[in-house]
Symmetry: C2
Subunit: 533 residues, 2 copies
């Protein structure tokens, strides 16, 4: 019987405690919720002497925060940042000359260039007073100038510095809805779009709405992108894991999901939603349409909200697979608003655009009652609105240049150059991992990651235990110290107990890939020589 | 004995229920927190037949979300949006030709122009490839080009499209820390700065860290900016109100704070922090330094975190008052890291810049242990980073052009023009309110708001009750329907029971102020004629 394990040997930023994110019934989560009123009204006059309260200690913080983990920026990254500083202040202090961040889907940090058209429009919207100047014609493409005017006309008073409607600027939502319609072939409603600062705040918003207590569960794939486990922990819910099947290319079996749902119910958990990440993170698979239909059918039957993480919708690298949105799939099955509650998350951070720093994205929310929608709107309102540049960019990625536009050819060349290079990098790294002793690696059909499995020798596992470290973190830390390559241990994403993995992005620029492969290979050989049984 | 009341007669977006944000022990907050583990591990095999779960109903949502309110974008604004649509589709359908949004501190939505230098730098950072082009010299000032280069050089790989460090780009934090030092005359550490998407997410972050349950309280001024009540509700804590004294210009008496703290303690509440908004929102007062010292002393003595909302630090309109940061005040008292836990919030949305749509801001976090800091860092990491344009803008507002820079004179003219105009508008509106029957209005020494008190006639209060509406909302709704002017009822901010107020921004452009005064005056006369006792 397998047991779900996610965690590391050392806590975030080296603070050592043995707490495990999801597999232990942590003492930290035994928060008391007393029945007293949450209101203090007028004081009864009191003559108590003031006593000095204790200062804020870490143990007095919200236990949900203490419980939360986020491996993608965890301990390994902290070590990497330290090494980078050492290399800066003391070049030659290590056997490598740079840190290669393969830990996070952050393409532009590794040299990917932004799409020119997108940046032209953003710059013009940031400083509209140059739109009428003659010099601008020479600096910007005609269609970027035209698009900037269109966007400004969609903003009340052309005020790009004003808070917008809580869901985002209506005209931009119109553009996005039109883009979704063009993608799916089914109608999309701009009132269903909530523009957000990237996909993460949108995920938090849905978790905040759905989770009432530890007794509410969210079905998540394992391995999963740790935003989900972090967000569920922060909101005090329970992550109900379902395992992707590594043997079938990280297949998603509804029978497995069903089994886990029933087990959760048997424990008194009310399962509220199912998270699907397609294309997969960290697993890189692209779901087959037939599989998606089964998931839709399952959510409909069980009354689960389907939370569809579709931020990698443009990142598909194999000709035999195609991205289909869950909304398209459910509509093509004849299911409408009344049949299934569905949230689709999209981001400007991924795709070929990779504009992580812009913090743009949206969620498309369908199949909820007007009353529930009001609550979503209210939560969005408390933060006023997402940033306008991110909103504009979200509209651009859903409505890029078209045939006949001045930028069209250069846009296509930039986009296709990035995507075809990513496909080549994915293949090269996949082959490299598969050539290493004890490592097997599924294909990255999509997204930005490989998630190879590593058969760690018993001696390495013992050495890790001696260091009070999870074995995969032990491997990744040694790799980092020896090569400057930053990976994320599989334990940060969850994995079948007794198996070990790591996540590696396919994002380093192509000219760096050969050196990475060489360094990885050399390190791995040495590691195995040292620890081989 | 006065009783704390905050709320409205109708729920957000017209959904009617009688729940009251802080004064009732709402049935919604009786969520059960069972003691079961928060972990689901492997299922015991189950043969339960699948039962279709109910769809998501509003009553099945997180009760903390249901409880939360945010009046600044509440019912009145929804009516205003409807009226605006009616005016667009059917001009002449109302007795006014535009909606005047005086509900929210959103200057650029009402015609305030952005500071040119800031926008030039943002545009150049958005599209750095034009920095080397000759046309750019003609379009942009020399110092904006130079500043853009400086900023790009502070960003690893000059990648403005990459996720940054979770706290924000280090070089920008250096600039901000230098700006704080220049402002305060005391050192500031870039490692204490957390860049955020406006001040709101920073406030949420601190509430998330500090609040464990309903038994944790946060001292907030009443009236307060409803972000605080909303955030405390969302995080499940208890707002412990302390009343500002309207009779002394919304004075903050530590004796009142002390009394409320003791009353809260007597009810078993652990008070964790004290919120101070200076300059005040919605109340517009600027605290005297002596008063600030008393607050610092109080927080130190009681072991409270001081959460200092200082987003209006540039908005001071009276010569006899000056903004002093709480950090400066505490350092000038000789209190350092070990003496007081202090968080200062700043935003690019306010000041003379008013760049609400950019969602930039920061918090400066001092006086916490390394372990607590790690937890703050972790929560920041889960959302990866704030948007880079907002980060850049936060560095610019803390480091504007200096004497000798090409933009310096035009920058000063823009800044001073905005601030002196705001001062004139504040005075004109204050005088107008004070000239109306039954209305008294304190001076707006700072910030962007007036918070006049209105003596509603008994007949009006009865009429409101008959409509199941809070009397101040009754007044504001009638005003909106008659004039197109959008105010926020005082009940959204909290007020001494039996008193009624509304918040009015000072942000409409000066050429519109006379018409607003006329419309307000006419409406008010008619209202009083109709309802006078």
């Amino acid at each position: 019987m397998r047991r779900f394990v996610i965690g590391r040997g050392r806590n975030f930023l080296n603070r050592s405690h043995q707490q495990n994110l999801l597999s232990s019934s942590s003492s930290h989560c035994q928060s008391r919720f007393l029945s007293s009123t949450s209101v203090i009204d007028s004081p009864s006059s009191s003559s108590m002497a003031p006593t000095s309260s204790p200062a804020i200690t870490v143990d007095s913080l919200n236990p949900k925060v203490l419980k939360c983990e986020y491996a993608v920026r965890g301990e390994i990254v902290s070590i990497a940042q330290r090494l980078q500083q050492e290399l800066q202040t003391n070049p030659g202090s290590h056997s490598f000359d740079e840190i290669l961040y393969c830990n996070i889907g952050n393409p532009q940090s590794l040299g990917q260039q932004p799409i020119t058209f997108f940046r032209e429009v953003l710059a013009l919207c940031d400083h509209p007073s140059i739109l009428d100047r003659s010099e601008t014609q020479g600096l910007f493409s005609a269609d970027s100038i035209e698009r900037a005017w269109q966007i400004l006309d969609q903003i009340p008073g052309r005020a790009t510095g004003a808070y917008s409607h809580s869901q985002g600027i209506k005209g931009l939502r119109d553009t996005i809805a039109a883009g979704i319609e063009a993608r799916d072939g089914f109608p999309a409603d701009p009132n269903d779009i909530f523009l957000t600062d990237g996909a993460s705040p949108a995920v938090h918003m849905m978790m905040q709405l759905l989770i009432r207590s530890e007794n509410d569960g969210i079905l998540c794939p394992i391995p999963q992108y740790p935003l989900y486990s972090a967000s569920i922990a922060l909101h005090g819910g329970t992550l109900v894991p379902y395992y992707l099947d590594e043997a079938t290319g990280w297949g998603l079996e509804t029978s497995e999901v069903k089994k886990q749902l029933e087990a959760a119910k048997a424990k008194g958990i009310t399962v509220r939603a199912l998270v699907v990440i397609n294309p997969g993170n960290p697993t890189g698979q692209v779901l087959a349409e037939e599989n998606q239909r089964a998931i839709v059918e399952f959510c409909k039957k069980e009354g689960l909200v389907l939370l569809a993480d579709e931020v990698y919708q443009e990142n598909v690298y194999v000709p035999e697979k195609k991205f289909h949105s869950f909304k398209k799939v459910s509509r093509s099955m004849g299911y409408g608003e009344k049949d299934i509650s569905l949230v689709s998350f999209q981001s400007v951070s991924k795709g070929y655009y990779g504009e992580c720093g812009k913090r743009g994205g949206y969620m498309e929310v369908t199949g909820f009652s007007a009353e529930v929608r009001e609550q979503i709107y209210k939560v969005a309102s408390v933060n006023l609105c997402s940033n306008i540049s991110g909103q504009i960019l979200a509209s651009l990625v859903m409505s890029p240049p078209k045939v006949g536009d001045e930028s069209y050819e250069s846009y296509c060349a930039e986009r296709d150059g990035i995507l075809s290079s990513l496909a080549r990098r994915a293949k090269t790294l996949e082959d490299a991992f598969n050539s290493l002793e004890g490592i097997t690696c599924n294909k990255a059909e999509g997204a930005m990651y490989l998630f190879p499995r590593i058969q760690l020798p018993e001696k390495a596992i013992k050495a890790a235990e001696a260091e009070k470290t999870v074995p995969d973190a032990f491997y990744c830390r040694r790799l980092l110290n020896a090569t400057g390559i930053v990976l994320v241990p599989g334990s940060g994403f969850g994995q079948v107990p007794g198996t070990w993995h790591f996540r590696c992005t396919i994002l380093p620029q192509e000219d760096k890939i050969p050196a990475i492969v060489t360094r990885l290979t050399d390190f791995h050989k040495n590691f195995m020589d040292k620890f081989r049984n």
